[in-house]
Amino acid sequence: MSIFEYNGSALIAMVGKNCFAIASDRRFGVQLQTVATDFQKIYRIHDRVFLGLSGLATDAQTLYQRLVFRHKLYQLREERDMKPETFASLVSALLYEKRFGPYFCQPVIAGLGDEDKPFICTMDSIGAKELAKDFVVAGTASESLYGACEAMFKPDMEPEELFEIISQALLSSVDRDCLSGWGGHVYVVTPTEVKERILKGRMD
């Protein structure tokens, strides 16, 4: 079994009209065994940048701690928050540092940049950035996620509709993957507020 499939995860980020949504599943498992059903895979870096980490849970936790450290240092030095594009470059650099002994994670970064323009990107475990205008996916359920998102996505969705679409895409994809699921965690971020919602899907 691949090391990327040791814990299991599903992540999506989608772009809407002056907003974005980022969603993950909630399973924490060790191969075939489910240990917990309330595991956090999406982290808030600051109000306008969210990071989702799929892959090996231990590396996701280590990477998150290192990134929070770097961002806090940036905040102290620059006296402002990092832009999502900058943050994505930071993640990419940190991952490539470990090129020959990598973190087994696939991050998904979503944020609101200048003029509230939504930004999303994903990268592989050694930091190869993949920018997209519509959606990005990661995790063990990624193939299903690509299909579901491609079918359901439309550009310029309002926050409420974006929430519906991303939730349906997530739930239908994780139902086809035994290593992810047990509910969903969705953040819908607009320039004025961050709405966090928990989804109840098939609990198996």
């Binding site: 924490f28 065994q33 917990a36 595991f39 936790q61 280590t62």
Partner: protein, 205 residues
């Protein structure tokens, strides 16, 4: 095979571990204590490679004590759990410890808590958890009978059910178990569940 499991109740947390020290097919002793008392209000139940288990848990215990000496106040359970994870994570890509840990503690303003720390340093706060082949049985029993806010009697009853399952269904089931509890009055041994008494001293001839 080593079994460690634990759960959180109303104002307390329980950690249960088997007490066999095994080397391949030989059982060296059946009264090995695998749940270390870290400090007055913390328990560390560990399962895994024998040497790593003893060495790593003692290392954590001494560092938790050092923090208290240096700073005059004890570590919170969450801080101890994160410290333990940090040590495992740092060693992971150099010289990994093959130890799975359940860390239970009681903090005055937070109450009881239980942390699951994998041997590859994945950390998660849980209400019930288990490691080893015994986990297949104990987790299933806990999924059925556990509810939050159990009393000590209910929880020990559930623990006994889990032990009964492990004994009857696991092919190399360990004979003896130790139960330790941590609550506002501290961390202490609660009971042993023995089906084979380990005799010490030379046999009389």
């Amino acid at each position: 095979m080593e079994c460690v499991f634990g759960l959180v109740g109303d104002g307390f947390a329980l950690v249960v571990a088997d007490s066999s020290a095994v080397h391949s097919i030989l059982v060296h002793k059946s009264n090995e204590d695998k749940i270390m008392v870290l400090d007055s209000h913390k328990l560390l139940g560990a399962s895994g490679e024998g040497g790593d288990r003893a060495q790593f848990t003692e290392y954590i215990q001494k560092n938790v004590a050092l923090y208290q000496f240096r700073n005059g106040i004890p570590l919170t359970t969450a801080a101890a759990a994160n410290f333990t994870r940090g040590e495992l994570a740092t060693a992971l890509r150099k010289n990994p410890y093959a130890v799975n840990i359940l860390l239970a503690g009681y903090d005055k303003d937070i109450g009881p808590s239980l942390y699951y720390i994998d041997y590859i340093a994945s950390l998660h706060k849980i209400e019930k958890g288990a490691f080893g082949y015994g986990s297949y049985f104990s987790l299933a029993m806990m999924d059925r009978h556990y509810h939050s806010g159990m009393t000590v009697e209910e929880a020990v009853d559930l623990v006994d059910k889990c032990i009964m399952e492990i004994r009857s269904r696991l092919v190399v089931a360990p004979p003896n178990f130790v139960i330790k509890i941590v609550d506002k009055d501290g961390a202490r041994e609660y009971a042993w569940r023995e089906s084979i008494k380990d005799t010490t001293g030379a046999p009389t001839s």
